[in-house]
């Protein structure tokens, strides 16, 4: 009873927040509604007994993807009013295509048949004594290991692509060179002086020649060793 109530509660909030994602005028609000939607979907997973998927959804989608969205929305300053300019102009053709798809979906739905095994699967969502993390692991790394590895290669390509298309090496950028910075001796950077009481630091000129080459040398570390750095 409570589970049913909870299901309807979460489902209703999920649908409402999904609608708000689409209609919200402020893109930041849209992303926040998206996060709300993710949390409710995770709750639905929990109700279905899939605790692993529920937590993955929260960690990956809320923790990483949605935050990234938020960054992008805030940084790019997309003008959504401008994006919607052509909306009315393209509404008729979009409406026609959408209508055709809807009719097709309805026709398809009319022909829907439910497999006789489906109720059995619902009756026992967790097979045997295996936790669902284990169950997913078994399927992913045995039956679908081919697809799992291939998906990894797809992600590698995405990474290479992002670097190839966006990384630029700008001249004159100072980079950190941890090794060189740590290897410096104290004498190269510090000069310990005796300060006479009441005289202040009037004798500064003395260590100057010693310190003079230092900043240049330091800058050299930052520059020199990074040709092709980001590759």
């Amino acid at each position: 009873m409570i589970a049913t109530l909870a299901f309807y509660l979460f489902a209703a909030i999920l649908l409402a927040s999904a609608t708000m994602v689409v209609v919200a005028r402020n893109p930041v609000h849209a992303v926040l509604f998206l996060i709300l939607g993710f949390f409710n979907a995770a709750a639905l997973f929990l109700l279905a007994g899939a605790e692993f998927l529920a937590l993955i959804l929260v960690i990956v989608y809320v923790g990483a993807v949605a935050v990234l969205f938020l960054f992008v929305v805030m940084m790019l300053d997309v003008n959504f009013a401008e994006l919607r300019e052509g909306f009315v102009r393209y509404l008729p053709i979009g409406g026609i295509i959408g209508g055709i798809l809807l009719v097709e979906l309805l026709l398809v739905g009319a022909a829907w048949t439910v497999s006789p095994q489906a109720p059995l699967l619902i009756a026992e969502p967790v097979p045997g004594a295996v936790t669902n993390t284990q169950a997913i692991g078994r399927v992913l790394y045995t039956d679908y290991v081919y697809l799992f590895q291939a998906a990894g290669v797809v992600l590698l390509v995405a990474m290479i692509g992002a670097i190839v298309l966006t990384l630029r090496e700008r001249p004159g950028v100072r980079r950190q060179n941890v090794g060189a910075q740590l290897a410096r001796a104290r004498d190269e950077t510090l000069a310990v002086m005796k300060v006479a009481p009441g005289a202040g630091l009037t004798v500064v000129p003395k260590p100057e020649p010693k310190r003079e080459p230092e900043p240049a040398d330091h800058g050299g570390h930052g520059h020199g060793n990074h040709h092709g750095g980001g590759h």
Partner: protein, 478 residues
């Protein structure tokens, strides 16, 4: 179903993927002068993989039915590897001159090739999709690799957006097929179709899958991206696009239509006939007004896909054999043609207009002869290879009773002969333009090799036709 891994069937893909990553590491750590080394390593990898593919024992079904290695897959994979190698060789000199010689280029070509090999070996809707995405994603990046060039970035973006749309259609169709057949395995789908009259949902899914695949082969209602992408992308990338991915997508198209959906051929034949006719006609008529040679080749490739699809529409073993022979010949003569286009460079600037070819017969007789051979072959003039490609497809169509398709094919190839021969006329009879820069050796090798194949194919067509026949038998018979 018992679980059989048979992982040794994917050794060629595995080796190529690992070598691709090794090449990436090589490029990252060598820094200076890495591009040439990585390109050579990539070529060697492609060669090694081709040897591995040929040494595999077919047929094998691996990973519990996700992956299939049959004679069809072997034949297509060898051609894909050849096409990738040709594309890579054409890029060597060009990328250096255009200052886009980045070591990621050969790496992306290798990884795209892995994706294409996965496509032609797909035996499940999921492995189909993953393979397709792996190759497509690499291709989007390759299209935009000249990132400081406005047209190249536009081409990359256009390709990406429309490709994502096509992937969406394919996925939507796949989900419907899965929902109504209860399986993503091709064998499972075929069993579900055999069991009774196909449901409306399954047919709708089939249409969406066909639309997604038609986009990838750039057949007509889904061709809009082709001219812009072919024109905008750097020429060697265009050459690569027009041979390797096209071949892999055609192979995938053949496998999906004849495999799981073989029993509902009546449903998809009409789709294929329609897009085939439309592609042939558009390829013939839209290319006439073009002044940019790359754009012309884009329309030409749309037309060629139309001819190849005739064989699929026939749906017989002869038809499939015809498609395979057609594509094999097409990739060689297309690689040669693009070799000639890559060689069009004057005072360090790449030329793309057809007028730039004027008087080539006087200034560079060798190049002009090669270009003419390719153009005559593309038009389907008898002693050359292109004629045989068309011949096998048209014969299959006639035997399958698809007379109208064959007639339209012949008529549109007559129309397309006009613009192919116009290039020959420009080269030999127009007032000469200044000479082109000297050709790099790598391009010369590709052009000469392709020309010899195209010109002399008539002497020994038997091995290729026999291999294609075996491949077709494994697809239709199995």
């Amino acid at each position: 179903m018992e679980s059989i891994l048979n992982w040794h069937a994917v050794i060629p893909e595995l080796v190529l993927a690992c070598l691709g990553m090794a090449a990436l590491m090589l490029g990252v750590f060598m820094r200076r002068g890495a591009t040439l080394a990585v390109s050579m390593a990539a070529l060697a990898s492609l060669l090694l993989t081709a040897v591995l593919v040929l040494s595999m024992d077919a047929p094998v079904i691996a990973f519990d039915g996700l992956f299939v290695l049959d004679e069809f897959a072997v034949f297509t994979k060898v051609l894909v590897l050849l096409a990738a190698a040709l594309g890579l060789v054409l890029s060597l000199d060009w990328n250096e001159k255009e200052r886009i010689d980045r070591f990621e280029y050969p790496v992306l070509v290798l990884l795209a090739t892995v994706g294409m090999m996965m496509m032609v070996s797909a035996n499940d809707l999921m492995s189909l999709y993953v393979g397709l995405e792996l190759s497509s994603l690499s291709l989007y990046v390759l299209a935009a690799i000249h990132r400081d060039d406005l047209r190249a970035t536009e081409a990359g973006l256009k390709y990406f957006v429309l490709g994502a749309l096509a992937s969406g259609m394919l996925l939507y169709g796949s989900s419907l097929v899965y929902g109504f057949s209860g399986s993503t395995r091709f064998a499972g789908i075929a069993t579900a179709i055999e069991a009774g009259p196909p449901s409306l949902g399954l047919i709708t899914g089939l249409c969406f899958v066909a639309a997604g695949l038609a986009f990838k082969v750039s057949a007509v209602p889904f061709h809009m991206w082709t001219p812009d992408v072919y024109e905008g992308a750097p020429t060697p990338v265009t050459a690569f696009f027009s041979i390797a991915p096209k071949l892999a997508a055609v192979g995938l198209f053949l496998r999906v239509m004849t495999g799981p959906f073989g029993d509902v051929a009546g449903q998809w034949t009409q789709i294929i006939v329609l897009i085939s006719i439309a592609s042939m006609l558009l390829g013939a008529f839209a290319a006439i007004g073009q002044s940019n040679i790359k754009r012309l080749m884009a329309y030409s490739s749309i037309g060629h896909v139309g001819y190849a699809l005739i064989g699929l529409a026939a749906g017989t073993e002869e038809g499939i054999r015809g498609v395979l022979v057609y594509m094999a010949i097409y990739i060689v003569m297309n690689a040669g043609t693009f070799g000639c286009i890559v060689a069009m460079r004057r005072k360090g600037q790449a030329c793309e207009r057809i007028e730039d070819l004027a008087g080539l017969g006087a200034t560079a007789p060798g190049l002009a002869v090669a270009f003419s051979v390719f153009m005559f072959s593309m038009a389907g003039i008898p002693p050359l290879a292109g004629f045989f490609g068309k011949f096998y497809v048209f014969m299959a169509a006639v035997q399958a009773g698809l007379w109208p398709l064959a007639v339209i094919g012949v008529l549109s190839s007559v129309v397309s002969a006009f613009y192919y021969l116009r290039i020959v006329k420009v080269m030999y009879f127009d007032a000469a333009q200044p000479e082109f820069d000297p050709r790099p050796a790598s391009v010369g090798v590709v052009v000469a090799g392709s020309m010899i194949f195209t010109a002399l194919f008539a002497l020994a067509p038997a091995p290729l036709v026999a291999a294609a026949g075996t491949a077709a038998r494994s697809l239709i018979g199995g």
